[in-house]
């Protein structure tokens, strides 16, 4: 079982973060929200609609209003940056070529990559690829954006750019943002509300400030990155001394 009796509310217009150690199923949670996975029990409701009760058509209609930013960026490798951002517009709208051009340039301008429009995805750095993916995710003006580990593997500058962009876009476009991450500093800097998830349960919740001053040992260990605590340093094993003298 990945989640057990988990309950979360994502407030409209806010940046909500879901944090927890690697391997706790944070990405799975995003896939549940996006309808790519189905829960065995329980429901996910977006804007009054229960995701896994929608039919194919309804689900696709809902997804047009959601953006998901994959960890890898998931750009289409056989298209230029421009074509990647234009992709959802071409697939879902009947806009004229000049209209698409203006829209794409506006979205690229918002992420600072208007000048990179003719590059291919393999010519981009990791941070740039994520920004292009972000431009693509906002191409259809969604109501909600989900970020899967947006800060992982970024250099300090790209990280700063992304942190700023996520907050800025959320406020300027009136989005609702969900960030899944384990980078405490960056996430605390922009999140309005944080859920800490571990072992399939919510182990802490609150604003960044509340969590910093939480009296839960687990929350303290995670927020401060202590090596030992409720999450032990050692993987469970038999007694060290016994193990050393034992003959196989």
């Amino acid at each position: 079982m990945i989640f057990d009796g988990i309950s979360m509310e994502i407030e409209r217009g806010k940046v909500t973060a879901i944090m927890g150690p690697s391997g706790t199923g944070k990405t799975t949670l995003l896939k549940l929200i996006g309808g790519q996975l189905y829960p065995q029990k329980g429901i996910v409701t977006i804007d009054g609609q229960v995701v896994h009760q929608l039919n194919h058509k309804g689900l696709y209609k809902l997804r047009k209003r959601l953006g998901l930013l994959f960890q890898s960026g998931a750009l289409l490798t056989d298209m230029t940056v421009f074509e990647n951002v234009a992709f959802p517009l071409r697939e879902h709208t009947e806009l004229s070529e000049s209209m698409i051009r203006s829209l794409v340039l506006m979205k690229l301008q918002a992420v600072g990559l208007r000048g990179a429009r003719d590059l291919m995805p393999n010519e981009l750095s990791g941070g740039m690829a994520r920004r292009v993916a972000l431009a693509r995710a906002i191409a259809l003006d969604p109501m909600m954006i989900m970020y899967d580990e947006p800060f992982t593997g970024q250099d300090p500058i790209s990280m700063g750019v992304l942190v700023q962009l996520i907050r800025l876009l959320n406020d300027a476009l009136g989005l609702t943002s969900i960030i899944v991450s384990h980078d405490v500093q960056e996430t605390c800097a922009i999140a309005d509300y944080i859920y800490l998830v571990s072992g399939g349960k919510v182990v802490g919740r609150g604003t960044p400030d509340e969590l910093r001053h939480s009296d839960s040992e687990w929350v303290q260990q995670f927020m401060n990155g202590f090596a030992d605590g409720p999450v032990p340093f050692h993987y469970s094993a038999r007694d060290y001394a016994d193990d050393l003298v034992a003959t196989e």
């Binding site: 997804r63 047009k64 994959f70 998931a74 750009l75 490798t77």
Partner: protein, 260 residues
């Protein structure tokens, strides 16, 4: 012993599961046909990468196979003093069998493996998943145009192969071994029947195109999204398509020419 039986059962179950998945996949691919036909640009791009890029290998192989047929055929036929019938022998072998079958095998190796690797990598890099989240059905956007392109290209490639092969046979038979030019062509014209020979060859190539493209696309779509998974899927494509083409060829030949 019990373990062996279990393994056999497991193996059989997996095969049937895969057959079921691939049938659903084919259904999903085919039902998207109308949408894709309304966007010919998607198909044209794939016709280029699946069909046009396979032309060179088809021409070269066709030429050599035709030349070998000319040589071998001449040696055998001249024993019976029938070397003037070389044109019929070359053309019949190519149009009925070698054209569709060898083109099918080359197609599976050249275009099929490329399709599997491309789709498998798209899956591994989350491009298919990303498309789904953008509310674009990856089967209809990516798979269906490729399927149509393979289906359309195969018969054309097989026809090209046979044509070049006949010319290759002419090159050796008439050019080097001294078969009469007029006899080569006129006997061919007299003996090769449109319905019996050419049409049956076309049917074969259409069926092989369908099989090879389906297997290639399904293997890519069903691949385990890791480098090892994609490599295994690519191998599967070549092995399974080749065996399927040879097996189905026997059945088709028996039905068409076997008087069964």
């Amino acid at each position: 012993m019990v373990e062996k039986v279990q393994q056999l059962g497991q193996f059989t179950l997996e095969i049937f599961e895969k057959l079921g998945r691939s049938t659903f996949f084919l259904w999903h691919t085919l039902t998207g046909m109308m949408e894709v036909l309304a966007r010919p640009r998607l198909i044209i791009a794939q016709l280029h990468s699946v069909g046009v890029r396979t032309v060179l290998i088809i021409i070269v192989s066709g030429l050599f196979i035709g030349m070998v047929l000319g040589l071998q055929g001449y040696t055998t036929l001249s024993d019976f003093g029938a070397e003037q019938s070389l044109g019929v022998m070359v053309a019949a072998s190519l149009v009925r069998e070698l054209g569709p079958v060898v083109t099918g095998l080359l197609f599976a190796g050249r275009a099929g493996s490329a399709l599997t690797a491309e789709i498998g990598l798209m899956k591994a890099t989350e491009q298919l998943s990303g498309m789904e989240m953008m509310a674009v059905d990856p089967v209809r956007r990516i798979i269906t145009p490729r399927f149509l392109a393979g289906f359309i290209s195969m018969p054309l490639l097989a026809a090209l192969f046979s044509m070049v092969g006949v010319l290759g046979g002419h090159l050796v038979g008439v050019g080097l071994l001294g078969v009469d030019d007029g006899a080569y062509w006129s006997q061919m014209q007299a003996k090769i029947d449109f319905n019996e020979d050419i049409l049956n060859g076309i049917i074969k190539s259409v069926v092989f195109g369908f099989i090879a493209t389906w297997i290639a696309l399904f293997e890519g779509y069903d691949a385990i999204p890791t480098s090892e998974g994609v490599s295994r899927a690519t191998t599967n494509t070549v092995v399974i398509s080749s065996l399927a083409i040879l097996g189905v060829d026997f059945i088709l030949t028996a039905l068409m020419f076997g008087d069964i």
